[in-house]
């Protein structure tokens, strides 16, 4: 690897923890970000000559903090910063700093930074945009393209989010164990939303979508490393890995969605699957089931089936039932109905989702699933209505195209509709 590439990777990987530590010093997101940015510029100048420091994150925190303090001083026309060469030679100070910045500090710093991005006043898209910008360091241009909005609009979204956060800053004391657990839960949700944005989003470019998923996995792994005994963090990381493992098989050459049961399982990433399964193994030992662990266990059952026909639907049905108990939601019941359709038939599945109609009337997947069950029951007209409704609610061209496929298939195999007898 070239040195430039190594430095870039080191800066990218140091960012979440370095910005988090700088936020603790300056208690202001913009100052922390600018300080990190300045430290990176200095790293790009000095690392190639002096070689990278032993602990790049500590170096960046130390230098970033000094540069920012100096900027404040300069504004007050006080004292100049020592020349860069002295600054780069921070070995003694660095080791001292490393000791002070032990993992417990980093841990709460990073959690705080992520938690700040999840402020309850911020709508989910703002939370994700902010985390991608501040924590992951994606450019405004990259994020704007992923969300299909203009750069100006996204810039505004981030500024607004930051203002709202500044108005109600999270306390900087060391959190209590209960607060820590609560923060972890909120942050886990944001990471999952970020992953889903990449997984199912409106983003039309596969590369961008992949990047959001990979970023979510990176953050999940990082959090798990800092909180190694949290079974739900193991579950979340496993869930993301197992779902991401299928990404190469999820879209066909034309960009259309390929359903799980039709995917070419040879394209699934076995390395990611193995890592996900290993994490589930670890989580199970704690005997504290949670929603991410159960969802990961469901994903694992799919991963373990060599062919779609080998899927253990009965076990999946049981896991969804457990999920319904922990987190009752119409969407969970809708997902469970897919397993029920396999084990008890489309009629039972339809009966299960009918009570959800009022709550899920605006949900694409509800009408898609309903159409599929009706079609299996031979109720073609009703199926067609449901599919039409799904198309009108589709969030992306790929989703709509997938439902159209059903309609085309019905036109070919179902009883010919009126006026279509010539075929």
């Amino acid at each position: 690897m070239t040195q430039a590439a190594w430095i870039e990777a080191a800066l990218t990987s140091a960012r979440p923890q370095a910005v988090a530590a700088l936020l603790r010093y300056f208690r202001d997101l913009d100052t922390a970000e600018e300080a990190f940015q300045d430290a990176c510029l200095r790293a790009l100048r000095t690392w190639p000559q002096k070689g990278p420091p032993r602990d790049p994150t500590a170096w960046l925190v130390f230098v970033g903090r000094n540069v920012a303090i100096d900027a404040v001083r300069r504004r007050r026309k006080l004292q100049e910063l020592p020349p860069e060469e002295t600054l780069a030679d921070v070995d003694d100070t660095e080791s001292e700093l490393v000791e002070r910045l032990d993992s417990a500090d980093y841990r709460d710093d990073l959690l705080r930074l992520l938690f700040v991005c999840c402020h309850p006043d911020l709508p989910a898209p703002q939370q994700i945009a902010l985390a991608l910008r501040v924590v992951s360091g994606l450019s405004v241009q990259q994020i704007a393209r992923a969300f299909l909005v203009s750069e100006a609009a996204l810039e505004q979204r981030i500024t607004r989010a930051k203002n709202r956060i500044a108005a109600s800053m999270v306390p900087f004391d060391t959190p209590s164990p209960a607060e820590r657990t609560e923060r972890l839960g909120v942050v886990a949700t944001m990471i999952y939303l970020l992953f889903n944005e990449g997984y199912s989003s409106t983003a039309e470019s596969v590369a961008l979508r992949q990047q959001l998923c990979e970023e979510a996995i990176r953050l999940a792994r990082l959090l798990l490393r800092l909180f190694p005994s949290e079974p739900e963090m193991m579950g979340l990381t496993a869930l993301l890995l197992l779902q991401h493992a299928r990404s190469a098989a999820r879209l066909d050459a034309k960009g259309a969605i390929v359903l799980l049961e039709d995917q070419d399982r040879e394209l699934w990433d076995r390395t990611l699957i193995a890592e996900g399964l290993a994490l589930i193994d670890k989580a199970v030992r704690h005997r504290q089931p949670g929603t991410y662990q159960i969802q990961a266990a469901i994903a694992a059952l799919h991963s373990r089936a060599a062919h779609a026909a080998d899927t253990d639907w009965a076990q999946i049905d049981l896991l969804y039932a457990a999920l319904e108990r922990l987190q009752p939601s119409p969407v969970v019941t809708l997902n469970r109905s897919v397993a029920v359709a396999k084990t008890r038939g489309p009629e039972a599945a339809l009966a299960m989702i009918e009570p959800l109609a009022a709550r899920l009337s605006g949900y694409f997947h509800f009408h898609g699933a309903k159409g599929a069950y009706l079609q299996q029951l031979g109720r073609q007209d009703e199926a067609r209505d449901a599919f039409q409704r799904a198309i009108s609610l589709a969030g992306s061209a790929a989703e709509a195209a997938h439902i159209r496929l059903h309609l085309d298939q019905m036109a070919k195999t179902g009883p010919p509709p009126e006026g279509d007898r010539a075929r």
Partner: protein, 130 residues
């Protein structure tokens, strides 16, 4: 004389590499490995899963203590390692406990292997990662 070459690097950095970069590094390593294999000097090569998948068995107490995460102390040194086929973590822990009974003190870090070349004789390759 056989030598073990143990690989250390920053996990944060390595897992921040884009896939193309990771592939490129692996390809370059593979070229070196092939050269070594060609001259009959290469033993097994393993890439381990990230430390998040690690579990540590502290066998310096009775009963031994299972801790999530990698072995993180600095007062003990790496003295050796096993590669063992296991159904899952439970069997791996059971195996480690058995070894620990024979040799108490210190700790075993249990970490799944991501890639092993060549796969050991008689290993079940159903996990599909090697």
């Amino acid at each position: 004389m056989l030598y073990a070459i143990l690989c250390y690097n920053s996990e944060d950095v390595v897992y921040s590499w884009p896939k193309e970069q990771d592939d490129a590094v692996m390809a370059r390593l593979s070229a070196v490995q092939q050269k070594l294999a060609g001259s009959g000097r290469l033993g097994p090569v393993a890439r381990l899963m990230p430390t998040t998948t690690a579990t540590t068995l502290r066998k310096d107490r009775e009963p031994a203590l299972v801790v999530d995460g990698p072995f993180a102390e600095t007062k003990e040194q790496l003295l050796g390692f096993y590669i063992v086929e296991c159904e899952g973590l439970e069997q791996a822990l059971e195996t480690a406990r058995e070894l620990g009974n024979a040799n108490p003190g210190g700790a075993y870090e249990i970490r799944p292997v991501s890639v092993l070349n060549p796969p050991g004789p008689g290993f079940d390759s159903k996990s599909g990662t090697r």
